[in-house]
Amino acid sequence: MNILALVLLLLTAPLSALGLPSSPPESWSMAGRGLPVLAEGRVMPLESWARLLSFRITGRENDSRATTWLLELLAGFESSPVEPRFLVNDAAILRAEGLNFTDRRLYSLEELTPLLVPDRVSALGLRYLNDPTPLGQEGLRFARALESWLALAEPEQSGFRVFLARGAGLTPLQLASQTGRTEAQTQDLGLWLYWRDQSQKGQWKEAEQTMALWSQRSQGELGLVNQVQLELLNNAVPWVFLLGLLALSGFTTRWWPSPSRNVGLQSLVLACLAVSTLWLVIRMVLTGRPPVTNLPSTFLFTGWLCLVVATVLVYRESGRGMAVLALISGAILPYFSGLFVGGGDPFVPPQAVLNTNFWLALHVSTVSGGYAAVLVSALLGHAYLWNSSRRGPGNLTPLWKALTASLVWGLSLTFVGTLLGGVWADQSWGRFWGWDPKENGALLIILWTALVLHLRATGWAQEWGTAFAAALGLSVLLFSWMGVNLLGQGFHSYGATTGKATLFFGLLALDALFLAMLAVRRVLR
């Protein structure tokens, strides 16, 4: 150990000799993470804002260093000019600007200095504004990242506001230069300047206490339901959920003692449903909208619906195996949400065209209900094929009945939800149907589900064949629900999405391989 400590000591010694303050301890960042900030159209904790900016500039998701980095910038520390921090997924964008770099992912402030001028950044954004190619999308993403950086460097133009005590929204620069302040603002200004001063001197303990006090007062001003505290709680919910999943994996590997197995499973399902419900309620309070407002939130909502199904099934003798399936889908689905968080903010206010709570609640909730039913039917199809390959077709009647019922519900709800979407589109934009990729996706699910339900009537497929087609519905559902958003239509930054698209289509390929193996096994038998 001690060699590493010695090396670290030797490396940091020259800095100490120059009289620079040491790096801030974790407690300094922890004190500032809950500071309310008005940015990106809503009030959020500084931690969320820091992660959002870090994602936008560096491409790092859930950057654990983001809060410290942003607080250091606000405290007046210069960003390192040579640290590679700016994500550029295609160096052709830089070469077009006269910067001759070879392809790599990250570039430093020093390397990008010629571009960091407001006029050049605006020109860069305009150049790629209407370019639908991957290069154009990446160019636009990069221009937006540079805009965010410039806004940080010039706080008076940034648009963000530290949400101070007494409700005054002021930029840090306004704080520092303001005259004619009220008494309350004078106190805030005093705290802010003291915090900066102590931070600059490396007096982290004093700065930490000041920020904690300021943060507490500012949060207190937000009222009884404190959005900032709720959002910090929301950031912790996935970890609780993950614990539930771990418990589930233990359960399904049969280490759970047999006599208490059913009670254990029931408790687990109820606990997961409670956490998932809490998650949705927090989301609704934070956004002031229905639980589903955008694509990422449909995964949370659909996962919740799967858990409701699991809760119903787990109390039936014949339904426990199926309850495990519903529980798995309910627990895994929310993690897809993170793949599609546009711009890095899960609570981003909706675009003007979607800014209507009535239609969001009605259309998206119904369609998500349909997706949940189709998902459950596809998983039941997998379970049918798996059990059939291991034990033969006997005693699969409950599974078969549940599969058929899920398909009927899936078809009905998706159809009604899609019609409601058509009515929304007609009421708001003047067309019932426009063959938009997302609309096509919903219709693809309807057509496939109708096809599966008609297969048996033709005699072309018996139970096994119909279950196989229902299992293939998983790929249809995932492609229509998420895949159309990964086809380069610009929902997410292309750099971050390219890898995810590979992962997503890789998962689909794996599922196809699994189903093909089961089919081959049946033919050989």
Partner: protein, 238 residues
């Protein structure tokens, strides 16, 4: 074996509709949404690399015929199948409406800066500039783009307009999700454009006498579904 009205033909048609829609959606990611919307999704036949191929309206038309014959031949004429009859009727009419709208529907676009007026609008997605006259003059008196706090994202598009002509002089407001309905026309806030450095609203204008049809058919289909589920619920009188 493959006779119109049989469930086998239904399965084949559903599969063909599925494949064409899937292919078209993938093609949209390569060539843009509009390129496929105006060809494979709206023409009975379209040309792909010099080869004529049937478009979605073709398959929708065949599906309507098959559904009609299938319902007539296979569905029993009893109270128990009333829901299924209504569902089939609504689906047939939906296919026909989809076929018809794809062929005849026309949408107009009109971008106007503040202070400007127009009595004509442009046909959307026309290969060359085509205009249509309006029975009124549309003027824009004010336009605003309120934004979410501390953000550049607009929360709404608001246009204050004036409609004149034919003895009418009326002021109104058009917002995103709140169109203006006037003399059979519906005027929607569609997008914005920049004219001489000034933000100008773009309106979409429709005048579709059959616009009520999707609502009526949705209601019919929903009613059929509910009736069918009620008649087939466990314990229902057979």
């Amino acid at each position: 074996m493959f006779r119109f009205g049989s469930s086998k033909v239904s399965v084949v048609l559903l599969a063909l509709l599925f494949l064409e829609l899937l292919g078209g959606t993938l093609a949209q990611s390569l060539w843009g949404a509009t390129a496929v919307q105006t060809t494979a999704f709206s023409q009975v036949f379209f040309w792909a690399q010099g080869v004529p191929l049937p478009g979605l309206p073709f398959w929708l038309g065949l599906t309507a015929i098959n559904l009609s014959l299938g319902a007539w031949k296979n569905l029993k004429r009893t109270w128990q199948t009333a829901g299924l009859w209504i569902i089939h009727l609504a689906l047939i009419l939906f296919c026909l409406a989809g076929f018809g709208f794809a062929v005849v529907q026309e949408e107009l676009l009109l971008g106007l800066p503040v202070g400007a007026s127009s009595k004509v609008a442009f046909v959307k997605d026309a290969p060359q500039e085509v205009t249509r006259g309006l029975p009124f003059t549309l003027s824009v008196e004010a336009f605003s783009l309120p934004k979410y706090p501390a953000s550049n994202e607009p929360s709404d598009y608001i246009s204050d307009v004036r409609l004149t002509g034919g003895g009418i002089d009326q002021r109104a407001r058009i917002q995103m999700n709140l169109p203006l309905r006037f003399q059979g026309f519906t005027i929607y806030q569609s997008s914005v454009q920049t004219v001489d450095g000034q933000m100008a609203p773009v309106f979409k204008i429709t005048n579709n006498a059959w616009g009520f049809l999707p609502y009526a058919l949705s209601g019919l289909l929903f009613g059929g579904l509910v009736l069918h589920l009620l008649l087939r619920r466990p314990g229902a009188k057979k």
